[in-house]
Amino acid sequence: MADLKCTIAGIKSINPFWLASAPPTDKYVNVVRAFEAGWAGVVWKTLGEDPPVINMSSRYGVHFNSARDVIGINNIELISDRPLDINLQEIRQVRDEWPDRVIIGSMMAPIDERAWKELAIKIAEAGVHGIELNLGCPHGMCERGMGSSIGQVPEMIERTTRWVREAVDIPVFTKLTPNITNILWGAEAAKAGGAHAVSLINTVNSVISVDLDAMAPTPTVDGKGSHGGYCGTAVKPIALHMVAEIARNPETSDIHISAIGGIENWRDAAEFISLGANGLQVCTAAMLYGFRIVDDMIDGLSNFMDEKGYKTIDDFRGLAIKNTLDWNELNINFDTKAVINQDSCIECGRCHIACEDTSHQAITFDVSADGKRSFSVINDDCVGCNLCAIICPVPDCIEMQPVKNDLPYLTWPQHPKNAIRDID
């Protein structure tokens, strides 16, 4: 059985699965239930200065697919709305009762050095393993000069990170917002400020849907709505990209990454680890199904590692980074073609119409006397776009097979048709 222990920012964790700072980590009872279920750590719901904030009623909106599966939800909830002392007291209690589990204190404060430092010290004194700076909340708190309004300005990221580093001697995680043009600016600023790790991504700014009866965005509060933070499986691709950018950027490749964003299962987790994540944070999936999902995350990741022969997380951590390149570095001579397995084809015609209408008219079909349809690829017209393989409802029925063309690895900067090509 594979060893799932990991270390992030010097903090040892019995497995890589933590709960992100959010409603599931708001108080003692939730956190204890999470630890009972097997989660290795929690980032406690963000703490601020007293008096606590007041939250709205009607807080979440949803993006369904047609089968009513939740693709994503967004929220307009603020940080913890309970007094700081109660939170700190509960943190102490859980730390006492669960010595092998990790608690990170998430915090935010207005742009004021004393405020950041005093709050950081109070939280550290409660016994947390580390502090996470919430610089990402894209709704409500940013209107008060906190959350993403700090996280969108690299200088402020650096400054707040440094303040906390100066105030406490425990690991510091800087949580980054994806609502920026280049994640590296934030990551580099966090590193310059002395962060041990970055946590990303925070939620994506969004209007998740419009209630067409009320003619207002959801979640609807007394007939009105606001933008909120989008999370869940839909944001995973955005998070994977940003994690990969930090991991493969020479300036930031050594900073630890606590990956967040649409992690629903062990496969998502393995993908983030392959792109360099040291640990993982989960929220939406737990909100949708309960804390029990961690069982399969642990079991599935362990089975995957056993199957591949990875004994520890570090054995495969970051293995996909070297294969993550800029477009300009890809081999333009590579050629792949769709191959339809006639035995498993169920004759739905989806590949044909997708290719015919929207791609390269490379899938044709014949109808036999008994009405049976057989679909085939016109190799000369197939550009290897993958669309047919993606939309085919039968797993492995359409396979993309690389063509052996004996051509050398050639990038666009070297290509003869590129007027400004590199000259060797």
Partner: protein, 446 residues
Amino acid sequence: MKHKNHRAAYNKILAKQSANSFFDELHRPLNKSTGFKEADQCLYCYDAPCIQACPTSIDIPTFIHQIKTANVMGAAHTILKENIMGGTCARACPTEVLCEQACVLNDDAGKPVKIGLLQRFAVDHLMAKDASHPFKRAAQTGRTIAVIGAGPAGLSFAHRTAVLGHDIHIYESRDKAGGLNEYGLAAYKMVDDFAAKEVEFILDIGGIDIFYGTSLEQDLSLNDLQEKYDAIFIGIGLGGTNDLGLDGEAMSGITDAIDFIEDLRQTDDLSSLELGQNIIVIGGGNTAIDAAVQAKKLGSPNVALVYRRGESQMGATAFEVELARKNGIAVHLWSKPITLHGKNSIAAITFEHTTIKNGKLTGTGEAYILDCDMLLKAIGQKLDGTNLQGLATKDGKLVISENYQTSNKKIFAGGDCVLSGEDLTVQAVEDGKQAAIAMDIWLRDN
């Protein structure tokens, strides 16, 4: 009433109940939760085989996609524009040998999308809404057409011709419209008086008048109608029934299954129905199954179904035969009746085993007797030729051209009385629709 003792317990339940209130529905309809989930199973095939398999060519992938996007009214419209009786067909079609048999998921998931139930989901949604009729009539053409028979073919024809701007007079021999939907389908397929509701929905288009209690056999003449109207459509179905050709067929206790179903569909008090203790249904079609299953559900202790050939030759689908067995009906195959026993009323029947010899069905000489106090004949219906005034027939059905014209160009025909496809509601609806389109074109030149 010789069965009164046996039926005492049942009569308590049946008293003052109509078929509408007594019979439970065969298939549980989809609800909001199961409906959208089921719609999500559909692959939205291109040029889908289910469309080809539907006699009315409903664009099934499109209507299911519309359900998926919560455009359920749009889905109903997609169905109804090809099949105005989409509601009945969703209930009564043998989908297992039509659209659902063609579903590509049979190859993959081993079971098809529940197209029939999804169709019902959409059409019921539209009919439950107090919305205006979903189709509009074209400008009035000034033409008036006579329709004989207010069954599925006649109503489908009338609706389409009304949409095309013509006025329609329907002559119906009974006092309700709907034909076999109202009188002949099993009650458990058509609960809640659905046939009548659907007729009302169809007539909402406007331009259609029905004259009840007026039959071709007794009250009309095709010559008069030709004088009075621009064209005629015959949708009279099959008014006659086949006989066994045995002595004693006039004894009491022997009835056509179709009449038995009609009586139970129409009565206000099921306890007043004649019902045997040993009922034998002879036949292998859906009417035989419908009669046998309903007889059993009404409380008859012994119901047997006897068919002269094997199960695979039955007109009823495998699902229907299974339904009969599940309801405790004994199914005797490869048997034909040779003697009816009884003095004034039927008491027993001798059957002879049959086999295929040199490609022909023949008796084996081995016989057996079954007790029987009620015999329901379901061995097919035939055209009642009265007053057809020489219109050409073949194989006992009216001959029509590909334009649905009979041997008299001014008279069109469709439904069970012509040889077009299977004797199914859905085929009758298609005939009515196509005949209307063809007649509309013909009327422009005549």
